[in-house]
Amino acid sequence: MTELMMASLLAPVAAAGLTAALGWSRLSATVTAISAAVILFCSIALATRVGHGVHLAAGGLLRIDALATFMLIVIAVVALLATVASIGYLHTELADGHTDAAGARLYGTLTPAFVAAMELAVCANNIGLIWVAIEATTVITAFLVGHHRTRNALEATWKYVIVCSVGIAVAFLGTVLLYFAARHNGAAAAEALNLDVLMSHAGALDPAVTRLAGGLLLIGYGTKAGLFPFHTWLADAHSQAPAPVSALMSGVLLSVAMSVLIRLKPIIDAGAGTHFMRNGLLLTGLATVAIAALLLTVTGDLKRMLAYSSMENMGLIAVAAAAGTTLAIAALLLHVVAHGLGKTVLFIAGGQLQTTHQSTAIADITGVLQRSRLIGTSFAVGVIILLGLPPFAMFASELAIARALAEANLGLVLAVAMTLIAIGFVALARNTTRLLLGAAPADAPTICPPRSLAFALVAGLAASLALGVAAGPLTDLMVAAAQQLEGPR
């Protein structure tokens, strides 16, 4: 298993090295896509073997368990779609003169490096290493967000770097406090940051210090997951980044940060009592859903709309994490993968619309359905996925989250969340209708997506449909992860 994990970690690093050395070309971009396929292959192979076990590697620094494997699969699928779409995206950019060879090389190097950092964040067993990996994603993506060197892109990059760096610094403070509590409890210095060691000491940690640490960790990783109150970077960064990067950030980066919180919750729960993290997650989760739903109703920008929808879903996932039962965690994992796939399709389709119209204002992009069958249909289906309608998996995951909340005696929370989601539903549906069916101006440019982009869209939709019809083999993995993470009741 160690070999498989190492192969999946090193594949994108090798692709990054190749692009850095040779510059961006169709060849290097294809190699990057192949590296994502290698991750997918390795993670599926891991999934067939991991079961309920926990496998430690590299002297306890890395771990493979059901959650790590599941997150690896999500990262791999989204990375595969995004890197395939990147081939056509960057080719068009170069042809239109929106970027140059140096910019393309930077993009081609940083994208696989970003994927590798996310993989490390989900596979690390040492919470210090998790922190390093998450902060590395901020540093790496800074120049991806600023890829288009416009004033708006720069503004978004600045906010992103500052807000996320501060947030993640706060998470490090929480990590230090947890380390202090574990050391005081007799854990050995070299391994007191390891998840398994922390878990075995969790019951005896000092409650007051653990609470302080838990609060700081929630704020810190919550920032990276786009949770209130440090969500302000999210819409700016997602709207200014190149579309495939937005897909990676929205589809997986947010859920990677969330998975860290889900991993830490049982430890904080055991040390400080179950109410602390539960209330914290409920409060930030609901506030995030509320703000996202309200902003969805006012925004007139395509990519910001998608970003707010991501916030809404992250808020819902935080609420489900607060419930913390096996059903809730399994449901939120299904939500993560379904949202990741749907959002990737939408960002890739939206990116093509942006390239065609040189704008992201919905007012400039109308009547898409009659102008391009492929982009129009992909966008329509993508929004149907996000709205949580059958036959797609978010229907099942939202129902399961609702049931889990009801069973956990969180009926009031469920009612509030459902109302807010209904508001978001209407806003999303209204904006999309305008975009797809509105009258197109006579001089509207023709939408002609490159082949690789079209392929990524079709593959993403096929995967979403397959997931909705039969989550099948993934179910065992999600349930195994949920059982390992279920907190004490």
Binding site: A136, F143, R149, W158, L193, A208
Partner: protein, 220 residues
């Protein structure tokens, strides 16, 4: 080293860090703020070096030397470089709050830091952990500087204050985190500051100044 000497050094170093943070709030000229940050890095490095010498821990001593190189030399140098490119008239940070109220605020934040850290000192009271409240005060002051200053370089300075405070907390509470984590953290901080430096340059080219009030295009 006698325990009393060790206590003296730790108290002096953590007090020095807090003093440097207060002076950063007091001063406006970015040049002197960068000098103060270098002094603070020096005080921060004194903590692991003194602890390493006192406890006979060579690894900690080496970490201390690395901290000295990074935070007293390298990071201030990066900031000074970003600042040198600024046109002379723009090397001041105009704060949103006047100096007197800012200093009052700093006093408040220091009190808050002492209140927040009570569980830590209650759990374990040693020479080192007793200095943790000052490190927390530095963290809060760093956040305060980031919120009230509208110049790119001064935001970076606030970030470094915050980060110095967190590093000091780690050293005071636990003799530092394991080496591999420390290494990763230092690398990340270094890269973050380099990124901020490059972005400051781009801000100047595109907006004509590293003044953050210009950044208000993106909103809903």
């Amino acid at each position: 080293m006698a325990p009393s000497t060790f206590a003296l050094i730790i108290d002096f170093a953590s007090g020095g860090m807090l003093l440097a943070a207060v002076l950063v709030v007091w001063r406006r000229a970015l040049r002197s703020i960068v000098t103060l940050l270098a002094c603070q890095g020096l005080a921060l490095a004194a903590i692991p070096i003194a602890a390493g010498a006192y406890l006979g821990d060579t690894a900690l001593l080496l970490v201390g030397v690395a901290v000295l190189a990074l935070r007293a030399v390298m990071l201030p140098w990066l900031l000074r470089r970003a600042l040198a490119a600024e046109p002379p008239g723009r090397r001041d940070a105009t704060p949103l709050m006047n100096t007197a109220s800012s200093l009052l605020m700093v006093a408040m934040l220091t009190l808050v830091a002492f209140a927040v850290t009570r569980p830590l000192t209650a759990l374990q009271s040693t020479t080192l952990t007793d200095a943790v409240p000052t490190a927390f005060a530095v963290i809060l002051i760093g956040l305060f500087v980031m919120v009230t200053r509208r110049h790119a370089v001064s935001q970076a300075a606030g970030f470094l204050l915050l980060d110095n405070g967190i590093a000091a907390t780690a050293f005071l509470l636990t003799d530092g985190v394991p080496m591999i984590v420390e290494l990763g953290v230092s690398l990340d901080v270094l890269f973050a500051v380099i990124v901020i430096g490059i972005l400051t340059g781009r801000l100047r080219r595109l907006f004509g100044a590293a003044d953050l009030d210009e950044l208000q295009e993106l909103r809903d």
